[in-house]
Point group: C2
Chain length 209, copies 2
DNA sequence: TGAGTGTTGATATTCAATTCACAATATAAG
DNA sequence: CTTATATTGTGAATTGAATATCAACACTCA
């Protein structure tokens, strides 16, 4: 029985664990029960050694003849990255990107769901948009506290980014996934992930030339 | 006068250069002409040393008293990551995500633009969607060859991913930015970037717990 | 049985990225 | 002029990530 100690895993490993699980779900769906490191590696463009190393880090052991038991591995990855009772997420800024994200994400994961959105456009608030309830931004603090929300996805207009981020921090949010083109800085102890397609495209443009 | 030799820069540095430039554009807009490494670092959550190191790698020198000249720095970054005559990009899969991306990206960069989209839904093809012309997927090969397109953004449904990727490679695409939830593998020499919000959210969920 | 094959798990090594530490330099203040 | 302060640029050290290597084991087949 694994103790519930906090494993200090490399960030890259966490990302790969999430992806392993996604692929393993598909494999289960196709009727596979076991998988070898080289199979998993191939599907993810990695080396088998790297796969084994990641699994070693989380303390999972396979068998030399049958490889890894998919069901068990998925369960263990869940134990590592999911929180016990699930985590609810909110999204702020129900525009084009916000809608694309919520409709994509809905129902993707058991323990992780976008439960509510917030906007300041009265056209969008007070009703269901893209499958989830959209409230007015003025209600955000109360909601976050009451529902104990820890993670927010930020997809508001660039101008609103700083204000909204401040509200989120005030309300007690612990992790922000920022998609606006405005870089944020957050206090110690708050986790921030940012992503921008422009950066990816410029990198690609550099690489292909 | 910098020779046009191909600098072998670390991938991480390329990404940061793209972000530096974004921030520097804003600074210019606010009337700033010079900037210190620690200012830039603060805006990007980096250390000043890292900023200086990156700029050193591209061969830019500042002054001890005035820091870096923003205009010149932006120009040099452009020289490194932009291609001389600009690069045109296509997007495949004009759904929710595709529309969010095209409307966001349009006009963002001089040398980089999404010029056309492709889809197999006859509702969407043959007209302008989200600001750009959307053609039928069957025309993609011809278009890519004729217009010498090198980079494609992939936002089709998961089921279509492999087929469409194959078409793109056949047509001679050299870089793919894959947003579908289906991991791709590409031949040697082709550049691939993938991003999935689920991975980011699961990483955040792990970090905040 | 016993050689041959293919796999895992772990240690060692290499490679890449970041940070440290400080010399060199410019400016301002006394 | 001299000292104090702030900055850049960079070699060296450190940290982090990926890869190579190989012993140990399990299975197959002759
Ligand atoms: N990271 C990426 O790759 C990427 C891609 C596309 C868009 N973006 C960025 O994401 C953001 C959203 O893009 P979009 O295309 O959905 O834009 P959009 O204009 O369609 O959506 C913005 C939404 O934010 C809401 N909003 C504005 N101010 C608000 C406030 N103070 N409080 C609450 N809600 C507020 C608006 O009502 C709107 O619904 C923009 O900042 C854009 O730059 C990033
Ligand atoms: N990476 C992420 O963070 C992220 C976020 C949202 C969605 N997604 C993924 O992006 C993709 C698009 O999401 P969406 O919400 O826009 O879905 P969507 O269904 O709205 O859009 C898919 C589009 O692809 C088109 N398409 C389907 N098959 C095609 C084919 N063979 N050739 C050309 N076009 C074809 C459809 O007509 C549709 O317009 C999905 O694969 C989804 O899983 C990823």
């Amino acid at each position: 029985m694994a103790k519930n100690t906090y494993l200090e895993l490399p960030g890259k490993t966490i990302e790969r664990l999430s992806q392993y699980r996604r692929i393993l779900y598909n494999s289960i769906h196709e009727g596979k029960t076991n998988i070898y490191s080289h199979e998993l590696a191939k599907m993810m463009n990695l080396t088998p050694v790297q796969v084994r190393r990641d699994l070693m880090l989380i303390g999972y052991s396979g068998s030399q003849s049958k490889g890894y038991v998919i069901k068990d591995l998925v369960a263990l990855i869940g134990k590592i990255i999911d929180s016990e009772k699930g985590q609810d997420i909110i999204l702020v800024g129900m525009g084009n990107l916000g809608r694309a994200i919520t409709s994509y994400f809905s129902g993707k994961r058991d323990k992780l769901s976008i439960v509510s959105a917030f906007d300041n456009d009265l056209q969008k608030t007070g009703r269901i948009v893209a499958g989830i309830p959209c409230h007015h931004i003025s209600q955000i603090k109360e909601f976050v506290k009451k529902e104990n929300i820890q993670i927010a996805v930020l997809t508001v207009s660039p101008e609103a980014t700083h204000d909204v981020a401040k509200m989120l921090l005030d309300a007690g949010i612990r992790g922000i996934l920022n998609y606006t083109s405005v870089p944020l800085t957050v206090p110690e102890g708050i986790h921030l992930e940012e992503y921008d397609i422009v950066t990816s495209l410029e990198k690609l443009a550099y690489l292909v030339k």
